[in-house]
Amino acid sequence: MDINFSDADNQFRQEVKDYLENKYPKHVKEKQNNGEQLTKQDMIDYHKSLYEQGWAGYNWPVEYGGTGWSPTQIYIFQEELGYANTPTILPFGLNMVGPVIYTFGNEEQKKRFLPDILEFNTWWCQGYSEPGSGSDLASLKTKAVRDGDHYIVNGSKTWTTLAQNADWIFCLVRTETTQKKQEGISFLLIDMKTEGIEVKPIITIDGDHEVNSVFFTDVKVPAENLIGEEGKGWTYAKFLLAHERFGIAGVPNQKYSLKLLKERTKDFADDDLKKKIADYEIELSALEFTELRTLAALANGGHPGAESSIIKIKGTELQQKLTEMYVEAAGQYILPYEGPEGFNSNNTPASNVSDFSSQAVSRYLNFRKTSIYGGSNEIQKNIIAKAILGV
């Protein structure tokens, strides 16, 4: 065992720092540091920048255009991205459908989809949840009926993050009504421009438009867009969820936010808050090493399994705890709130912490989602109970 980074690792870290300092889009950095919302183009810009650097597939194997980095390198890369306060790399293409395609897709599909995912030419969204299928995901009803060379898809998906920007959606659809509900599910890729698809915004309690409803009416999808075998979609979905949970904790971003919070509160005469911050920092450190232990297991040929559920639960609990402390630190100044975009420059509250306070409450409300999405934390506990404790 050895906690130290090798010279090569340190050199690699410097390379990442140099990139973030010199090549990462400046307008994105500026907006991030000012707490401004990013536009669709901003988001495309920073993903493209990563691609140009050759790092978009930071956790992909070399044969599919990935970096083939070691777990330690991935860790360093993510840590530096977090320290530089960069926005999250969108997971839908790179961490979700990408790995499903290169693991279960055919050669044709790999050639067709993977390069565009890496280059961020296509924006993906995730079609899993339905109005009647949340935690009981396998009860999903969106139907795909085979008709010659096509499937005809009818139904609806919900909570679809950034569907308003998406070019493609990967969907779990029911291709057969089976006794065991998991067995009739298939994994289908659908072009969002296809006729019969309608996207409607859902506004969340922070006032933001992040998630959507997506409706499918007689949508014609070429059969070649089916991943793997018909009826095996649940297997691929579980594979994807285990990958999704991995990195969901956002430890490096949390470290950055913690640093800001400590700076912000250093002169507060509030021992209770100081203790809470210490407790949070210790827990975050424990979570970080839980991730590192999982990475080490992966490097030794393991797969992210039920253990990633711990990271999901603990990581999201800590994210939420952090947003709570921000709100506590802001006190009464959280009251003036004009939505996630902040204040109109002609009309700002007198408090000199107004931006901080507004962002604090915005994030607090927004982050309630974290213990619900990606399989609610209660579902994660069911997974651990069954898969690890065997009860």
Partner: protein, 364 residues
């Protein structure tokens, strides 16, 4: 960075595990605790024969030159089996203080500890200093040691004491024979069945030859001892938490109520998942702490404070939930499960509890 145990470390774990399974069942342990404060000279002799008493000492002093990682491995397994032998007091605490000294007397004492021929306890805590271990009144004036040390671990079995005292404006650690004139020991059973005591020094004759370390070296030796001892008992708690959740899962599968195993109830399942998660994240932080201590990282002390605070919280949750899920059996002395809770309670109280370390972490 590499987070895998070496083959040697895995073999050590295997050895301790096998010993605990064959020679240290809960029944055996209970007899030792009831009859002799958790210390069985026969078991101690086995420890010596297995070479365990030599683990952390340098090769120069006749040891294996193992570090915090190997000690953590041993303590994790000890924690699972609730081992009550005075390994912490002798090998870890006295060992750490003695190993830091270049004094001949220290070297001789180490070799006797390794052979199992002597027992030594560090007498540092006092009645009125709480966790401010450097705020001491025990002192040497005109060659005579006076003062009272409290909560000295394993005091009843100690042949000598490493006494942390003041001499003028210097701090000094002396090695004092338990049979020396003016030394009296008043020992007690601890809440978890081991032994600790008050040691009174009344005009005990002290010569230069008994100095193990002094000045900054002395206070640093105490700090280093506290870090290592905290790491070890945290590893012990991680082992205890692992055993607690595994035993609880087993019990709920066997216990039937309302016509089915109570493990079928989701409210209990989620509680057990909480126990499992607390054990795992604690273990993760233990990794960080032992690796930093092993690498002599500047942050090690802070991380150990963090670890101790985390263990205080996690082990309380696990220990209490384990008792709760065992129902009435959980509070019955004949079951092992409640004894983990007792040990966790002692571990939190030792060398700075959760509150103390949370403050400490916050201020470092």
């Amino acid at each position: 960075m590499n987070l895998s145990y070496s083959d040697e470390q895995n073999m050590l774990r295997e050895q301790v595990l096998k010993f605990c399974e064959s020679d240290y069942t809960f029944d055996v342990r209970e007899k030792i605790v009831e009859s002799n404060y958790g210390h069985n000279p026969k078991t101690w002799k086995q420890f010596a024969d297995l070479g365990w008493l030599a683990v952390p000492f340098s090769e120069e002093n006749g040891g294996f030159n193992f570090g915090p990682i190997e000690l953590a491995v041993i303590f994790e397994e000890f924690g699972k089996a609730l081992v009550a032998e005075p390994y912490l007091a002798n090998v870890v605490m006295s060992g750490s203080v003695l190993e830091s000294s270049s004094n001949e007397l220290a070297k001789e004492t180490i070799s006797k500890i390794i052979d199992g021929a002597t027992q030594v306890s560090v007498a540092f805590s006092e009645a009125n200093n709480g966790y401010n271990f450097h705020d001491i009144e025990t002192s040497v004036d005109d060659g005579k040691l006076n003062g009272v040390k409290t909560v000295v671990l394993n005091a009843g079995f100690a042949n000598s004491f490493l006494v942390y005292a003041r001499n003028g404006d210097k701090s000094v650690i002396y090695l004092v024979d338990a049979n020396a004139a003016g030394v009296s020991v008043n020992s007690f059973s601890t809440v978890d069945g081991q032994n600790c005591g008050d040691v009174t020094f009344e005009n005990v004759e002290i010569g230069e030859s008994l100095i193990i370390s002094h000045n900054n070296d002395a206070s640093q030796a105490i700090n280093a001892m506290l870090d290592l001892a905290n790491l070890c008992i945290c590893a012990e708690a991680v082992g205890g938490m692992t055993a607690s959740y595994l035993k609880t899962v087993q019990y709920t599968k066997e216990r039937e109520q309302f016509g089915q195993p109570i493990s079928n109830f989701q409210v209990l399942q989620h509680k057990m998942v909480d126990m499992f998660m607390e054990a795992e994240v604690s273990k993760s932080l233990l990794f960080k702490a032992m690796l930093q201590l092993d690498g002599k990282d500047d942050e090690a002390s802070k991380t150990i404070s963090g670890l101790k605070a985390q263990i205080g919280k996690s082990s309380r949750l696990v220990g209490q939930a384990a008792v709760q899920l065992h129902g009435g059996m959980g509070v019955s002395d004949e079951m092992s499960i409640g004894h983990y809770l007792k040990r966790f309670t002692v571990i939190d109280a030792l060398f700075g509890n959760r509150n103390y370390h949370l403050n400490n972490f916050s201020n470092l």
